[in-house]
Point group: D2
């Protein structure tokens, strides 16, 4: 069981959000941050560097937005839809863009293929959380 799920299950405050959906989003966000952080460093080592600039930038943006989303979801007590709803929307948008850009390089660079997968899973997990919250 992931630490996210263990922590949620031992949490004193009862969340309105389904624990499984929330833990899945937290794990997917954490994986996506990890994949984006390493992918952009790998991109910087590639010989077709000029082609990788957009990917590097989107990985940084994606990691920043996922980081904020992860922070807020990991501290669920002070939950506010006026903040979480647009934040999830921003997160889904950047995971989509970053996943699309990684896909363009996936046939050449295995690290982009892995990062694409992490972005797609994160986008999907955030969409499922949107549904669970509505």
């Amino acid at each position: 069981m992931s630490y996210a799920r263990q922590m949620i299950d031992s949490y004193p405050h009862q969340s309105e959000i389904d624990a499984g959906v929330l833990a899945a989003a937290i794990d997917a966000l954490s994986d996506c941050i990890q994949a984006c952080t390493t992918d952009l460093d790998a991109d910087l080592s590639e010989s077709n560097l000029a082609d990788m600039v957009k990917c590097i930038r989107l990985c940084m943006h994606c990691s920043d937005v996922c980081e904020a989303t992860l922070g807020l979801l990991s501290r669920p007590a002070e939950h506010d839809n006026r903040v979480i709803t647009p934040l999830l929307e921003a997160c889904i948008a950047i995971c989509k863009s970053c996943g699309d850009e990684c896909e363009r390089h996936a046939h050449m660079h295995a690290h982009c293929r892995v990062c694409e997968e992490a972005c797609r899973r994160c986008e999907q997990a955030c969409r499922e959380l949107q549904v669970a919250m509505s």
Copy 2:
């Protein structure tokens, strides 16, 4: 002149956003993160600790969302309204909530008064950026 403004003025890529409005938002976000980070630690030292819990939590949320917004605005080359627009919305919402909560404690705790001011200025600077981007 702030570092944000100096960096923007020496930036090779021409931004569509007015440099003054962008630099003001970056500076206000940076100040707000600083104020929230210190305010929550100060809150934890207060004798009316149970009353400060909401303030502590909102300061953490505010700092996280401002951090992501600051990151994306500070790397303006790969600007995407589908990401920035909801992110700014989330940022304005949490700055408003956190400012309101700090205001409740401002008469008792000077650190909450200072933090309220930083949140209000950040909210305002993000609203002006919204206008400049639309």
Copy 3:
């Protein structure tokens, strides 16, 4: 296989550090950040709040230092022992302190027990990385 390990295995730049030890440290750091972030929010919901203040503060410190360590280890191309060696030392020290403090509350709060475990594992993984790097 974790994303950290997948990313390292697909990385174009050959690291001097053993891939298994590095991936284990990255995963343990990521888990520790997650556990600390949620633990401090859970602490804020406990009735013995005044007793939890030190734990809350150490969780924030631990999460910050782990975050920096994770960032640098996840981008291994520009590795510099003058930076990584003291950073790992700081990380081990705060994981130790935070784990010790969580242990004090582990019999009362399951979330502190889970967080203690994550801190201990992270401390251990960072020590193994120290050995692998020396």
Copy 4:
């Protein structure tokens, strides 16, 4: 007066560290993060991109370590020399490396000149804090 100084002056907990030296370090860290974040995005827009890779990577490392140092210094209540001393050492080392690398590009790129200055000031402010703490 900077927000850092205002917050420290309104802080309930008396720090052992001189308020002026602490506030100067906090402001310099915050400026350095800002400069590094923008500098690396500017680097990615330069035509001599392959020459900028080391600078990009050091800016990311520098920003991460400064972020952790800033976090711990901004929450001074739970101060522990076993953590802060090596963290400051790591911070000084990366500010030095990043400043040196930015200096190499300063004659070509104004953004690297600005970033060099921010790194040098941050290194200096951290050294002064080391002295104040010893």
